[in-house]
Amino acid sequence: MNDFVSVLKADPLLAFLLIGGSLYALILLLMIIFYLFKLLLNR
């Protein structure tokens, strides 16, 4: 874990990519859940 934190500190581009990518993964997951609900409710 310490290694991972130190690599993020040493490489800001990597940190930005990981944080940004994770946020987007979350957004996509939320959108998927939204569409799933839409499908279920309108059966």
Binding site: D3, F4, V7, L8, A10, D11, L13, L14, A15, F16, L17, L18, G20, G21, S22, Y24, A25, I27, L28, L29, M31, I32, Y35, L36, K38, L39, N42
Partner: protein, 364 residues
């Protein structure tokens, strides 16, 4: 309009996949079972590949920016495209720096690294400015040589006298755990890196053949990778293969057949250069496309994007990495995670597209 043939796509994927990976002992953390790690990773990689090749089936001849905008709307799609662009640039710096250093180590030890990097990037600028077709045609020309040299090295090493298949035994001697512990690294590198081809599918002339060609090419690459690993471990043994900086080079240097066939490191340098060139060029080209789409640039302006960011690439690479050890540390500790993250984002994207299609077909 840029169109590439199926053979050109096959060559590009093969050069990209085999590219750098023959130089590293992939999955060597699992010792002599490294080849099993690659086999497992290939199976997961195939699933990823099927996901990636579903996009051209849904949206033939449509570029990735268009697909993203269609699926998520402009406001959400553009930041994601920006992230993809940054990820490709980050990967390009990794490949570019690594190969620059490897060429310095093997062929040009007295030349300053920055000079090597600039010589390298000028070729990339020239080829990319001529268009993606030219890069594809270059791959079509060079890949047969790459395969020929690789197969020749396998055969030469087999007859070198140092070859001992006993190094591969015992198979799964420590159980399956060390193998499973290494799989994620190999899924990311090289199979997850295939995500960059999402940027290029729309260039392929026969859109229906994309999946077939991609699967075939990745399968052939995996075969080459596994053979390469088996040869490296059989010659060096699992311990030495794990600690050597460039295992393929070490194995080639060790070859001495009757004092006639020696000093084969030039073959290794050829493999390094071709592999490094295509990996860097494809990642960089992916970045340029994503960046141009971000600002709705036409092809004319893309040349400026290529030139400006390519000239900055060596400077940024040297600024980002302090040496090969630093680059490999950053690559292994965090780089693989970023590859995994960005290679699995299209899976979510495809799920979203499928759900959207279903809701719209039901008239919801």
């Amino acid at each position: 309009m840029i169109r590439i043939s199926s053979i050109q796509l096959f060559s590009l994927i093969l050069a990209f996949e085999v590219g750098s990976t023959t130089l590293f002992a992939l999955g060597i953390g699992a010792g002599q079972d490294a080849w099993i790690v690659v086999l497992f990773a290939f199976l997961v990689g195939l699933i990823l590949l099927i996901v990636y090749t579903q996009f051209p089936k849904y949206y033939p001849y449509q570029n990735f920016a268009g697909i993203l905008e269609g699926a998520m709307g402009k406001k959400i799609a553009k930041p994601l495209l920006f992230l993809f662009a940054l990820y490709f640039y980050s990967q390009a710096t990794h490949n570019f720096y690594e190969f620059g250093v490897l060429i310095k180590m093997t062929a040009l030890p007295r030349t300053p690294l920055i000079v090597i990097l600039y010589m390298f990037i000028f070729v990339i600028i020239y080829i990319l400015c001529l268009g993606f077709e030219v890069l594809a045609r270059t791959a079509e020309i060079f890949v047969p040589y790459l395969i020929l040299f690789l197969v020749a090295t396998y055969i030469i090493m087999f007859f070198s006298g140092n070859f001992d298949l006993g190094h591969l035994l015992p198979i799964l001697g420590d159980g399956i755990k060390p193998v499973l512990g290494e799989v994620h690294t190999v899924i990311g590198f090289p199979f997850g890196e295939m995500v960059v081809f999402l940027m290029f599918w729309h260039y392929v002339r026969e859109q229906q053949a994309v999946r077939k060609i991609a699967v075939l090419s990745v399968s052939v690459s995996t075969l080459l990778l596994i053979t390469s690993l088996i040869v490296i471990i059989s010659v060096l043994g699992p311990e030495l293969a794990a600690y050597t900086e460039i295992p393929l080079l070490e194995t080639l240097i060790s070859v001495n057949i009757a004092n006639v066939i020696t000093n084969l490191d030039s073959i290794s340098v050829f493999i390094i250069f071709i592999g490094g060139f295509f990996k860097t060029a494809l990642h960089f080209s992916g970045f340029c496309l994503a960046f141009s789409w971000l600002f709705n640039h036409k092809n004319k302006n893309q040349r400026w994007v290529i030139t400006i960011f390519a000239i900055l690439l060596p400077l940024f690479s040297v600024y980002r990495f302090d040496g090969l050890d630093d680059q490999r540390w950053k690559g292994l500790e965090g780089g693989v995670l970023s590859i995994l993250l960005f290679s699995f984002l299209p899976v979510l994207l495809l799920l979203l597209i499928m759900l959207k299609r279903k809701t719209s077909s039901k008239g919801v």
